[in-house]
Assembly symmetry: C2
Homo-oligomer: 361 residues x 2
C-alpha cells in the first residue's frame, strides 16, 4: 500500500540479509518435518523477500536519522533485526488477510496460498487442495507472527527499551486485528457503515502497523523520548490513513495495469470504503448498490459503477479527505516546542508526503 520511497540501497540489502538469516536459521528444522512443510517455509521466505520492504526501510531510515551524528553504534544490529520483525508481522497479517478474503493473487502474481494449490493430490477429493492451501496460509501466518514476537522478545537492548518495544508490539497487534475485524464486519454487513467507523478502521487496519510501528520502534531503539514517539505516532497515523485512502481511490479509479491488483476487486468484494460511504448519500446510490459486492461483476459493469461513483462526486470527496490528512501531517511536522521532530526525520516524512501526489501504484 505504500509507494516506493527513496532509500539508500544499502539498507535494503541489510534488511534482506536479516530476513534471509531468519529463514535459513530454521531451514534444517522445517526439513525434518517433511517436504510439504519445508516447501511452505520456502514459499514464505521467497514471498516475504520479494516484497518492497517499505516498513523495515522506514524504520531503519528513521533510526539512522535519529542517530546520525554519533560514532559506532552497538544497537544498529538490533535495529536491523527489529526491522525484519516488522516485515514478518506485516507478512503474517497479509497471509491471514488473503485467507480471509479468499485471494489467490497479490500484485498480479500468485500469492502463497495460490502457489500451494499447485500440488498433485495422492487422493482424489475435489476441494482438498484449496482447503489445504488455505490451511497453509493460516499456519504460515502463525509462524511469521510467532517469529516477529520472538525477534522483539530477544532484542538485545536495555531492558526498559525492550519493555517499550513489547508494549508497542502488543498495541499494534490489538489495533490491527480490531481494524481487520471491523473491515470484514463492514463488508459482510455485520457492522453498520458510517464515515467515522470506516476512517477509524482504515487507520487501525493499516496505518498503525505500516507507519506508526516503524516510526515508534525507531524512536525507542534510538533512545528517543516518549514525547517524540507521540508526535511521530500522530504523523504516522495521518500519513497511513492518507495512503490507504489513496489506495482505495487507485483500486476503483486507477489503472489496474499500473497498480497491479485485481481490477475493481474492492467493488467486487463490496468493500465499505470512504468512497462508498459518500456514495450512499447520493441520488445514484440505488443503482450502485444493486451491483456492489457481486463476486461475478464483469469489467463492463465495474466500469459503470466507477463512472457513477465519479459523477456523484465520491472521488473528489475522498481527495478532500486525503488533503485533510496531509494537512494534519504538515501541521505536526512544522510544530515547534520541546519535542520538535529532528530535521532528518522530517525529511523522511516529507518525502512520503510528497510521494502521495505522484502515486499510481
Amino acid at each position: 500500500m505504500i509507494g516506493t520511497v527513496r532509500t539508500p540501497p544499502g539498507l535494503r540489502v541489510e534488511v534482506d540479509r536479516e530476513l534471509q538469516t531468519l529463514f535459513s536459521r530454521s531451514a534444517t528444522v522445517v526439513e525434518a518435518y517433511g517436504s510439504e512443510f519445508a516447501r511452505l517455509w520456502d514459499l514464505a521466505s521467497r514471498h516475504i523477500r520479494g516484497g518492497k520492504l517499505l516498513r523495515p526501510l522506514l524504520l531503519l531510515e528513521t533510526y539512522d536519522a535519529l542517530r546520525c551524528s554519533e560514532g559506532p553504534d552497538p544497537l544498529r544490529t538490533e535495529a536491523v533485526r527489529i526491522a525484519a520483525a516488522v516485515e514478518a508481522l506485516h507478512y503474517a497479517f497479509l497471509l491471514h488477510d488473503d485467507v480471509i478474503d479468499g485471494d489467490l493473487f497479490r500484485r498480479g502474481r500468485r500469492n502463497l496460498v495460490g502457489e500451494l494449490m499447485d500440488v498433485s493430490p495422492v487422493q482424489d477429493w475435489s476441494g482438498g487442495t484449496r482447503h489445504w492451501a488455505q490451511t497453509g496460509g493460516i499456519l504460515a501466518g502463525d509462524l511469521l507472527l510467532s517469529c516477529a514476537h520472538q525477534l522483539f522478545a530477544r532484542a538485545n537492548v536495555p531492558a526498559e527499551r525492550r519493555a517499550r518495544l513489547l508494549d508497542l508490539l502488543e498495541h499494534t497487534v490489538f489495533e490491527t486485528t480490531a481494524g481487520e475485524f471491523a473491515d470484514v464486519g463492514l463488508s459482510d454487513g455485520v457492522i453498520g457503515s458510517d464515515l467515522s467507523t470506516v476512517l477509524a478502521m482504515t487507520g487501525r487496519k493499516t496505518a498503525t502497523y505500516s507507519f506508526e510501528l516503524p516510526l515508534r520502534a525507531a524512536v525507542i531503539l534510538a533512545g528517543g523520548s516518549a514525547g517524540l514517539e507521540r508526535r511521530l505516532r500522530k504523523a504516522g497515523w495521518h500519513l497511513g490513513v492518507a495512503y490507504q485512502l489513496q489506495d482505495d481511490l487507485l483500486s476503483t479509479f486507477g489503472d489496474a495495469d499500473i497498480h497491479g491488483k485485481d481490477a475493481y476487486s474492492d467493488l467486487r468484494e463490496g468493500k465499505q470504503t470512504a468512497i462508498i460511504c459518500f456514495a450512499r448519500m447520493c441520488r445514484e446510490w440505488p443503482r450502485i448498490e444493486a451491483e456492489l459486492g457481486d463476486r461475478d461483476l464483469s469489467i463492463a459493469a465495474a466500469r459503470r459503477i466507477r463512472d457513477r461513483l465519479r459523477e456523484c462526486g465520491a472521488e473528489d470527496f475522498v481527495q478532500g479527505l486525503i488533503r485533510d490528512q496531509t494537512t494534519a501531517v504538515t501541521d505536526i511536522l512544522t510544530q515547534s516546542g520541546p519535542e520538535t521532530i529532528p530535521a532528518e526525520v522530517r525529511g523522511i516524512l516529507l518525502t512520503l508526503h510528497a510521494h502521495l501526489d505522484k502515486r499510481q501504484s
Copy 2:
C-alpha cells in the same frame, strides 16, 4: 484430549485468576475498538476459562514438585504466568484448528466461531455471518498467540532461563504447525498416508504442546538441568501420543454421550488416524473407503464403518500401539542414572499414565 488429572484445587484457582487478569487487563483497550471486538475478546475469555486447564495445571504441579522442599519462592508468580501462557497458546491452536475444520461445536457446545454466528446482520448477505465468524476465529487465535508470546517474553526470570523458555516456545510453535499441516494434508489427500507419518503427525500436533511444553517449562522455571528436561521431553512425547491415540479410539469406538464430541466426526472428516492406516491393509478396506470422508455420513453408516474397523482388528492394533507408548513411559520413569526423575514428578506422570486406562472422555 487429556482426561481429568487429580490436582490440588488451589492450582486451578491460581491459573483461572491469572487468565482473568490477562483478559481484564485489555478489556478497556478492546472496548475502544467497538462492541463487536469487545464481544470477541469476551467470548475468548469465557471459552478459555471454561476449559479443563490441564496443560497449565500439569506445568504448575510439576514446578511445585520440583521445588517442593524449599521456602518462599519469588519465581512462583512467573510460573503461574507461564502456565496461563501455555493455556493461551493451546486455545490459539484450538481456534485455528476449528476454523480449518469448519467446526462450530466443541465438547457438545458452540465454540467461539459458533457463538459469533449469532448476530443480526445490518445488511442481507447470505454467508456473511459465517465468513465474519470464521474471521473472528482467525483473529482471536492471532491475539491469543500474541498474548502467549508476550507472557513468555516478559517472564521476570534470570535471562538464561528466559532464553530457554523462548527456545522452547519457538520449537513448540514450529512442531505444532508442522503437525497440523500434516494432519490436514493427510485428510485432504495431499500427503500419502502411512503409519510412521501418522504417528509423527500425532505427536507433533498434540503431544509437543500438551505434554512436552508444560513439563519442560516447569523444569526450566525451576532451574532444572538440560538432562532432566530431555527425559521429561521424551516421557511427555510418549504420553501425548498415547493420549491422542486413545482419543482417536474414543472418537470412533467410544460413546459420544460420554466423550462429548460430534459422534463419528473423524470418520466424516476422513481423518487419517492410525486406525485407518491399519484398516488399509485389510480385506474390508474397499467397503470402508467407499464411505469414509463423506461429510453427510449418517449415524447408521458410521456405525457400519465402526463395526468393520473393529472386525478387521484396527481397534486391537491401536490398543497395542498405546501399550507400546505407555511401556516407553514406564521405561523412562524407572531408568536410574544422574538425571533420575524426582519421585514427586514421577508420581504426576504415573497418575496420567494410570488415567489412560480408565478414560472414556
